[in-house]
Point group: C2
């Protein structure tokens, strides 16, 4: 099966939902936002050995590559439309792996209502690289940015924080004191993040600023603080934790260091947002997504993580950086 | 310099021309086509050691990565707008190389009137990977596809064909009988292709089908033949050759085999198009781009490459495939 056969037989079916993709039979796709809307575009690339483990099954890897992009759209208040996919296969990639990759995309397309619009497939001497550009739409001028947080806003986060980081450590056999069911739950958060697409509409109506938690809660709060020109104060005791993360925390001798780890580990793909204090409950009610208030926005700059009694918790590193 | 510093200091200046890019300070960009237009989107990834040589200077590599995408837009009749860039740096990439890469993009942005809209930077254990998604616009419904060629059309190509393939061989010291100035000219075609952006408007007014010549003239003609459900007949003696390619051809003992090589080597980034016989001169007049008639469209399927007297020239392989 050569490059063109693979596109025609395996990838083209993924483009059926998008007329502008022309069945992947052309060099480009056409795309227009719905009337009164503009497109929101984002790109994220995943590299084997960096963003996922070489041994991870490729259906899950494909899904993760798509989901991290859908997570960005959700945080920006955008309804997802579709995506372009550029893949660099490793030279010896078995055909069954390539088919498993496509199956993972097919499942997620049905789940999230998006279509493949086009892209590029090639192979190279290095690890698998998956570069996705995702497209969503918002009513004109309504994208939720990082820049709108203002003093008086509350800081909210969806779901629970820190699970994916623990899951990655569990996969590396670093978490010895965690029960088997907890380990499975944590690993799943790392391997199969669930982007908060259901929250997009409520966020664009109610949030002043938002970002998805990919670099880590503190680092991503820092991105909002920097772009908004404000200070985000986060109360560690308010950070929502899963039952598995609470069990792990309970067995850690140094609680402050453990909380700092949870607040700085990446890959959760929850949404951190700043909005008037009453907006959190409204986002939760309208979207069905759990929302927790974890802090406040003040005049100033940077991020403070406060422990019991308001004492600052030292943060070892601001978050994940790729250099 | 970490990932965020590099984005802020080096890449953000490339986004100044695009308000929707928000200075790369957010997770996504907003984009809307001009009134009455739709977006044309295309993605092409380049991998070190596959699409360019490991030793190639990175300003030229960056320019080539952008230009191959602009070439797709031009062939589709689209006016370029901007692009998203996902880069996977090799882990030991020197900072001077990264800065040279950015300088190459800056030069080409000015040359082609496009802006960086966003993207992703990371690093990995493999070779440099550059994945670009380019955006252009056409009046609604006016993208030039591969599908519109019809019997009675003539087949045209811009510029000259086969130079980039010879250039690649020259860079590999495989062309011993070529003069020094010819070698420089051929190498330049491979290293620094010039996308035919000036032809976009005339093509969307006059061409029935078009494609850029990236896989090779015969392979790309084959893509049009397949998608249009027609047969493309190309006369080898009509294929436009540069002075350097003519000199190379003159010294080759087997002319038919040599012509076949020129007609199947990739990376020329000229535009092959099908249009009424009188349209070629009009495209040349309106765009200032040289256009040569090289054949005709008939009922049937596939591509025929005809030599002197109409005898078919065997084509060793249809073109370049990445698997």
């Amino acid at each position: 099966m050569d490059e063109f056969d693979f596109i025609r037989e395996r990838l083209a079916p993924l483009a059926r939902g998008a007329p502008g993709a022309r069945g992947l039979s052309d060099d480009a796709a056409t795309l227009a936002p719905p009337a009164g809307c503009e497109l929101v575009v984002t790109a994220d690339a995943l590299v084997a050995g960096v963003h996922f483990r070489q041994a991870d099954p490729l259906d899950g890897v494909a899904a993760k590559a798509l989901r991290v992009n859908l997570s960005d759209l959700a945080a920006k208040g955008a309804d997802p439309i579709g995506y372009l996919l550029s893949i660099v296969w490793p030279r010896d990639c078995p055909r069954t792996d390539m088919e498993r990759f496509v199956a993972g995309l097919a499942d997620d397309q049905a789940r999230y209502g998006v279509s493949l619009l086009g892209g590029d497939t090639t192979s190279g001497p290095g690890p698998l690289v998956i570069a996705i550009t995702a497209f969503g739409s918002v009513p004109e001028g309504r994208m939720v940015t990082r820049a709108g947080a203002r003093p008086g806003d509350a800081v909210f986060v969806t779901g629970t924080v820190g699970d994916a980081g623990l899951g990655l450590r569990a996969l590396g056999h670093e978490l010895t004191r965690v029960s088997a069911p907890d380990r499975v739950a944590l690993e799943r958060r790392y391997l199969a993040p669930e982007p908060r697409v259901d929250a997009a509409r409520a966020l664009r109506d109610l949030a002043h600023a938002a970002i998805d938690v990919s670099d880590g809660l503190v680092a991503d709060a820092g991105h909002i603080a920097q772009t908004s020109g404000a200070r985000l104060v986060i109360e560690a005791l308010s950070i929502p934790l899963s039952a598995a993360a609470r069990a792990w925390l309970g067995a850690e001798p140094d609680k402050a260091a453990a909380m700092s780890k949870l607040a700085t580990s990446g890959d959760d793909y929850e949404i951190l947002f700043c909005a008037p204090p009453e907006a959190g409950a409204e986002v939760a009610r309208r979207s069905g997504v759990p929302v927790t208030r974890i802090g406040r926005v003040e005049a100033g700059q940077g991020v403070a993580l406060l422990g019991p009694g308001g004492a600052p918790i030292p943060v070892a590193r601001g978050g994940f950086t790729h250099f």
